[in-house]
Symmetry: D2
Subunit: 349 residues, 4 copies
């Protein structure tokens, strides 16, 4: 930490949506100081040119990653694409704490990584060291970590309601179906035909059915919670909103347990947590009620089918699903209040 | 049929979205003539006042239902709210053919109707007579019918992919999970806070979890196809688009069958059908690709979970999910070409 | 015209939105036959791969423009980018009628073309020959034309209400202010960051202020109507909808004329026109009431400022603002009913 | 002010969007304490029932206005409908500071009020006392005020760019045309057919042309700045977004002044202001770049028409256009930092 008691932070890949969102949150943080912003293709530009909504803020200009002065940097948020991130992070100085928002360090099994991402991992020592940053579940490990792999947006939405149920052995392992609906910011800012307003608005479709890379990531964490390998059905959908993920999860109850038992287990697991909340019984979580916030709302319902239950979880994919949880993890790593920079209320409508 | 060879049609409840949509379709129909439009609360107004997009058309003014001259009317589309529809239809002259878009005659079991809709049916003879108008499944009965109960929007989307699989005994009966996403027109034109633009846009939520009235309707048809009572899990979601339903259905395969077997069964069942289409393998149906049309697109996918498959179906809830299927049924009942008035291509973007 | 009495049509540049929209309309046309579709970069693909909403139609595959067999082609819709279009059209056989949807032949003054588009015109003979296809204004010339320059979307919306007022000398020439709001399809299907859903939705901005290329095009037609050079203020805005342009035009009344005089002049000018309609007094045109149709709605209002009036015009930029008017022009050129393929009602909601 | 150094605040009419937005902002304010929330029709409910996005906050339940304990209340935000507000405010104890978000005290001329709002004002003494709270223009009066009339959303957007130009006599008085585009939150939360998602999305229309009540309010402030009565042309449009107003204003330059002169005058007028910002030359303000913030962005452009200029201003109608400016005014009245509770960055996308 710096002489002034502030944590000096660099954001690598600041020209993407997660980088911009980190800045939005960081300006409300009492103890962070942004000292470097990188974006290789836009180096030399002011942040306000890349993101006019940040134009009025006093921020450093974008630089190439090679031009960062690392001595001034205490911590890094890494918002680079997966695949190239691992080597960049391997090259960072030892004294720098890192929260990585890419997928590069999320899978702890090198063989699984190779299968899913189509190539050998090139920083396997770091892969071993990295802590999976689902904060509410791995808080103590995060506190000790130098490198945190920030979870994916879908995986955070799916794991938060399911982990407590598996820890307490309340649901069957072989029958977990996750139907997720995401806003478009999850696809990033790269110009692609599929993400044009004209192609996305007024419609919905499923994609990556049975093949999306967040499937194995969800399985890794659910398996850890269950104590045995678990496979899940996971289907993401793209829908016409900017922010938000809603995960509707269908589970089979074990040993005569009821939806109320699931609800109670979730309530206990997250008691006192500032960001994970059960909605009142009978209500259903809506993504619009968490927009812009680090909240994850969870609802539990008995299914029409006897012996089954339905879990609905809602979060903002750019906040609890990305930059907000990254900041939450950094708060834990730096010994700050976990809610610093994250206490603004959701924005509705 | 009239002297001029045209079918003289009245639309009861023409001031709602399904009434307006029937008019949109009917003006392209070579053999329909609109002779009466009713809307009790807006009687006396021109249709163009209620729906300015129809202002340039030559349409009769809205009248109270009691002012319809039934001698001129060969057929009726009934777009009235459920509950009151049954008595209205019971009072129509014998010579009038009816497609009812309400829920009043969809459930054939009086006891089930009473449970779900909270009151005794008041036209039980008609309830026995009514034919469930999922056209591709019950075409021959529709052809003979005087009264057709037009299926619900969710039910059409769910039933079209599932019925062939149950007819051929390809999937387990106790393990069908239907996750459906609907546009807002499904909620009608009544002013409700929950359907304001400010409340609906930029968000998604589930509703009617385990209790939505289309659940029993789906079960009735799937049970008929399976030859034994079937219960399903059904969860609808409201999302920010006007038209479209996407149903993602999760099923367990029977007897070593594969997703390809499901695909083949669906292909055979709907071979030659003008409105039900399998999308090419590997593609996923999108609601935007059926907008404004009577099409239902279906995709079939192997699940990540061994022994399971995923079906995705897409339709426009106002067309194949309501007014389009109603017109399709009327075409069958009147001996017209089934595609009359329904052959316009979808509108994209 | 072909032996079968049908007009054999090729669409050049069929992979863009205007090409797809022409196909949507053409399939309802009794006397058009699509014989070739070109898209150089996607040659070899089926149209259903490029536009899944057209997958169920029986259409020729996309080919390179050099592979079109011109002997079979009676007429062409040219949907290519401006700049390259002029040479393509110059190379087409003499017997082919052409409606060009690009900007290449809209400006009749070579010097103005060079200023606005930054290069000499490379088909100046054709430029002289081309007829500006604002159908209601230039119908007789269109009837005789071999090459029609289809007007821009903004220009159609601005010109239809203003031309009659200038023809009748009802408004001042130096004080015409056009504030236009457009949906995103006007920007085409090319992937650009600025047109992503994430960048467009939930916001509005002006662009091309004082510099948009439709300014001079509007001025050319208004000058012709007025009989002297006219300059206008023209400001386009991009807003989160797919289809539609609303033009709000502010004018100063001449010689004590009133808004009612403007209204009467517009009514007379377009009496009997199937596609240009005044809305009832006191109502305001809305883009949603023309969606998918070839209609242009016009409203006229007295301003708060004495001696001024406000005109509001609404059209679907892909239909009356592009492909619909193109088809309307082709109908006129080919001697068909002008409404053929264009009589479907608007789609609302 | 309370013993604890906090300002104890009541929000009257907390169940509308401006009330909820005040709460969203207030929870980030270091020195406000919410002590009462009223909503007569929903008295007894928790705020989290009315607005689930605020459910996790510790807020008082809604009460009827008659049940507020005024001894505990230092200040009031009044978010009640216009018309009834004036009598409610007249009945408040003397010690309470008030920011009124209704239109009741915005017009200082009783005769004009009567004409526009169709009835005599029933608190004319207060009407004289009230200060019009366009903070940047009337800051010193606001500082002394007990009752501030918070400006309308359209008026704030229109006045901020125009007032400096009139103060410096840079533009003609008789030729100001304001074309404004608003999101749907401006229409409030009352269920009306016209504001349903189905009616608003995918379209735009003008409304209240020449008759909208914000016209006279704009004129009052522009007249004050100009030192003589000014009349303007003002046309609002409703468009499919939730938050934001964009005002495009067309002006005629006086005495050979240029757009650059306008730009310079605006820059000087708002130098050092935290919330009013000129965008860089050549850029155009976008509503999405101020979403959720109290910023107003202004751009200045030379028009195509010689001697004219175009001003574009963008703000969030719920923040700088309502609750944010209300809080800004309260900060000034209470002697707080003017940016307290208002310094969060805009949310984009």
């Amino acid at each position: 930490m710096s002489a002034n008691g502030k944590l000096n932070v660099a954001i690598l890949g600041a020209s993407g949506y997660t980088g911009a969102e980190l800045l939005r949150l960081a300006v409300s943080h009492p103890d962070l100081r942004i000292v470097a912003l990188t974006a290789d293709r836009r180096a030399g530009e002011a942040m306000g040119e890349v993101y006019p909504h940040l134009h009025h803020l006093d921020l450093p200009d974008l630089v190439a990653i090679d031009d960062v002065k690392w001595d001034d940097v205490d911590a890094v948020f890494c918002c680079l694409p997966h695949g190239t991130t691992q080597e960049t992070i391997a090259g960072l100085p030892e004294h720098v704490k890192i929260v990585d928002l890419s997928a590069d360090f999320r899978l702890s099994d090198p063989a699984l990584y190779e299968t899913i991402y189509g190539g050998k991992h090139r920083a396997t020592e770091l892969q071993k060291e990295a802590v999976y940053g689902l904060t509410e579940i791995h808080r103590e490990k995060v506190r000790q970590a130098r490198l945190v792999a920030n979870p994916g947006c879908y995986t955070t939405a799916a794991e938060l309601p399911l982990v407590p149920l598996l820890e307490k052995d309340l649901i069957e392992h072989g029958d977990i179906i996750i139907d997720a609906k995401s806003g478009v910011t999850g696809a990033g800012r790269s110009p692609k035909e599929a993400n044009l307003h004209t192609e996305v608005s007024e419609g919905i479709h499923a994609y990556g059915i049975a093949t999306h890379r967040h499937g194995p990531e969800i399985e890794q964490e659910l398996s850890a919670a269950a104590g045995e390998p678990i496979q899940v059905s996971f289907t993401p959908h793209l829908m016409p909103m900017n922010r938000g993920i809603l995960a509707t999860s269908y589970v089979r109850l074990k040993n005569g347990h009821t939806a109320d038992d699931l609800r109670a287990a979730i309530a206990r697991r997250y008691e006192g947590e500032p960001f994970v909340k059960l909605v009142p019984q009978g209500q259903a979580p809506a993504t619009r009620h968490v927009r812009g916030s680090n909240l994850c709302l969870i609802g539990v319902f008995a299914d029409r089918l006897p012996g089954r239950a339905i879990l609905v979880s809602a979060l903002d994919n750019l906040v609890k699903g990305a930059s907000g949880q990254a900041l939450q993890n950094m708060n834990v790593m730096a010994g700050f209040e976990e809610t610093d920079g994250l206490s603004a209320a959701p924005m509705f409508p």
